[in-house]
């Protein structure tokens, strides 16, 4: 990572102060960064002896010497990103785009503004809505297993989205954020979503960078807070280019009778590891977690999901589909935890892996911790090659083996993509998945 700004630890603290000054952050925001910074320094770098890190080797990373660019006053929207936005979804309520942490594009429809919806960059939100943001980040939870990365992301956060939907407001058109990284850069995407009572919205976070032989780095966090009766659909569209090594921690806290749908689509990056967590801590909360992973080349994916039921009368469902070609690797591990007293909790989990080549490898590790006795809980996992009878059927209709395989992979992944509710986003994401499938030689 020769092009990256590198620095030793004390200089790191200076950099954080510089970021704070640069963004004219109030004292509390700056203190939040510093706390994150000291946690980052204190937390040990995870090694493979830790269960959570057993399947992803990061020993080549010198985390303390990876730092972001200072956000600049002005950066042009790069042509390739403009093309992504232009060719992307239509009928969108708002778009934000960041390159290396600097806001380069912001478009919000008037109707969204009139409704009082806040959809803006992290730094602007801190200036304009300090109380709301402050309250949200004061309660931030540092997951011990991911602390090194989440603390790093919070300390260095430059670009980032804040979305706040006022009580009773339904945002009909979906919103989208693009986080882009230039070659050899380190980026720290940050998303904060606050849904007040009975509000409803769909947000897509898209992550893009050019393919490169140079390594790039990213560590992102998404905090999703669902007020009572609210409904959130959150799409994480991970399409980083080759060379990117990306770490992600997403945590949703669900209020009473709220409904969360998360759809994780992972196509990109050389190495990516994500924790996706739903905390069902109020009665009536429903969490649907969906995932689509499609790997090729030597891509490495590691997804960990957590369905945490702290109270009863809560429901969580999960479907994670992984297709792997060439020498790609995926580890999926999923925890369902039902805490004592969380009676009448329902939790379901299913992970399906389609292995398309003899050199691809999928691991699946379901894990249940159930401490209540009146619950419904099921889980299932499959790892299988392409079905010979399906191939025979398609080939008997004239399809060459590679076309037959393509169709099977599309069919395997499509049912999950079909659950993206906003048509415009669904079409954009499906097109990208199909594009990646179509480029495969099989």
């Amino acid at each position: 990572m020769s092009n990256m700004l590198t620095t030793t630890s004390p200089a790191g603290l200076e950099l954080i102060e510089a970021i704070s000054r640069h963004l004219a952050e109030p004292e509390w925001a700056s203190a939040h960064r510093k706390e994150a910074w000291s946690r980052f320094l204190q937390a040990p770098t995870p090694s493979r002896t830790h269960e959570h890190w057993r399947r992803t080797d990061i020993s080549h990373l010198d985390l303390e010497n990876i730092t972001p660019r200072l956000p600049s006053e002005y950066r042009a929207l790069p042509e390739w990103l403009e093309a992504v936005i232009r060719r992307g979804a239509r009928r969108i309520g708002g778009t934000l785009a960041f390159v290396d942490g600097t806001l380069v594009h912001e478009h919000v429809t008037d109707s969204l503004r009139k409704k009082g919806v806040i959809f803006t960059s992290w730094s602007q939100a801190i200036q304009r809505h300090p109380d709301l943001v402050r309250r949200a980040i004061e309660n931030v939870d540092y997951d011990p297993a991911d602390e090194k990365f989440t603390a790093m992301a919070r300390a260095y956060a430059t670009g980032g989205t804040v979305l706040i939907v006022p009580r009773g407001t339904e945002v009909t058109l979906p919103l989208q954020t693009f986080f882009a990284a230039s070659e050899a850069q380190a980026v720290f995407p940050h998303t904060l979503v606050i849904l007040e009572e009975d509000s409803r919205v769909t947000l897509l976070d898209g992550m893009f960078s050019p393919d490169s032989s140079t390594r790039a780095f990213g560590s992102g966090v998404a905090d999703l807070i669902l007020g009572d009766g609210s409904e959130l659909t959150y799409v994480l569209f991970q399409q980083w280019g080759q060379g990117m090594e990306y770490f992600h921690h997403q945590r949703a806290v669900l209020g009473r009778d709220s409904h969360l749908t998360t759809i994780t689509v992972a196509l990109g990056a050389s190495l990516s590891k994500a924790t996706i967590e739903s905390v069902l801590c109020s009665s009536g909360a429903v969490s649907d977690m969906l995932g689509v992973v499609f790997g090729d080349d030597k891509q490495h994916f590691d997804h960990h999901t957590v369905q945490l039921h702290t109270v009863g009368n809560t429901t969580s469902d999960l479907l994670f589909k992984v297709a792997l070609d060439e020498a790609s690797y995926s580890a999926y591990s999923g925890l369902i935890r039902i805490e004592p007293g969380a009676q009448k909790a329902n939790a379901y989990q299913r992970n399906e892996n389609l292995v398309l080549s003899s050199t691809a490898h999928a691991e699946t590790l379901p894990n249940l911790e159930i401490e209540a006795n009146d619950v419904r809980c099921t889980h299932g996992a499959t790892v299988a090659p392409v079905d010979i009878e399906q191939m025979f059927y398609l080939m008997s209709r004239g399809m060459a083996p590679r076309d037959a395989k393509r169709l099977i992979v599309e069919g395997f992944l499509q049912p999950v993509l079909d659950r993206i509710p906003a048509k415009s986003l669904r079409e954009m994401v499906s097109a990208k998945v199909d594009e990646k499938i179509a480029h495969r030689r099989f």
Binding site: D387, I388, E389, Q390, F392, Y393, L394, M395, S396, R397, G398, M399, A400, P401, D403, A404, L407, I408, E410, G411, F412, L413, Q414, P415
Partner: protein
């Protein structure tokens, strides 16, 4: 028209997992001919169908198969399809997540070597659906997923109609269909086959033969064609069952039953 037969099977021996199932099948089918292949379960009828289509599990140990004079056994499954062979499956598999429309469009593109226009495809598909008494919304359902037995069989014939093969092998297309279903499917097979298509119709029952009238009837026993005749043979089987054939071929009976 070519002088060569459409399909010529000569002394075909086929094994599955090392066990010989077909033990010397010979059969010639010319254009426009309908051949009914009858016989008990396990006699090898479906093995013959799957072998002709090129299923990888079926190993040809002896014999040859020529399709329009070309060596069929050297061709891959998809090449056979492109050459004009169509198999209506006894148990069509589900392809989850792939819509009928997407599947059929891909198939036609592969078979014709070019993409159909959306309009042309829609029109053709609608016609076949109507002919088979299937609602248009089948186009958006996933291939064979959650279909009833009868719906699966009808979709096979929809495919036959769109593909218009030179040789159609129908593997127990009548099973899983009710009386109306058998009639509808049969009428469509007759329509699609017309004067040119060769048909190999595999069935247990005589009932479909009331609608699709065969030029030849063959009875398979223990991996061989034990008896061939005309339409009247099917009626005889209906009345007398299969046992008399076993007696008629006398000396072979014991061995055949053991392997059958």
């Amino acid at each position: 028209m070519s002088q060569l037969p459409l399909l010529e099977i000569r002394n075909l021996h086929v094994a599955v997992d090392g066990k010989e199932i077909l033990k010397g099948v010979s059969l010639t089918i010319n254009r426009g001919e309908i051949h009914a292949l009858m016989g008990r379960n396990g006699s090898g009828k479906s093995t013959l169908a799957a072998t002709l289509m090129g299923h990888p599990r079926y190993e040809v140990t002896k014999g040859e198969v020529l399709f329009e004079g070309r060596n069929l056994l050297e061709m891959e499954v998809d090449e056979r399809a492109r050459a004009g062979i169509f198999l209506a499956f006894q148990y069509p598999v589900a392809i989850p997540g792939v819509s009928v429309a997407n599947f059929l469009r891909s198939a036609l593109k592969s078979l014709r070597g070019e993409e159909l226009s959306a309009r042309e495809f829609r029109t053709a598909l609608k016609e076949e659906f109507r002919a088979l008494h299937m609602p248009d919304n089948f186009a958006s359902r996933y291939v064979n997923e959650g279909f009833s037995g009868g719906e699966k069989k009808r979709l096979e014939i929809v495919q036959m109609g769109l593909i218009k093969p030179k040789l159609a092998i129908l593997d127990e297309t009548d099973s899983g269909l009710d009386i109306d279903g058998v009639r509808i499917v049969s009428e469509n097979v007759n329509r699609i086959a017309g004067e040119e298509t060769g048909v190999l119709l595999i069935t247990h029952y005589q009932r479909i033969l009331r609608y699709i009238r065969p030029h030849f009837v063959h009875v398979m026993v223990g991996g061989r064609i034990a008896l061939s005749g005309d339409e009247s043979l099917a009626h005889e089987l209906e009345q007398r069952g299969y046992d008399w054939i076993l007696q008629e071929i006398g000396a072979e009976e014991k061995t055949l039953q053991e392997v059958g």
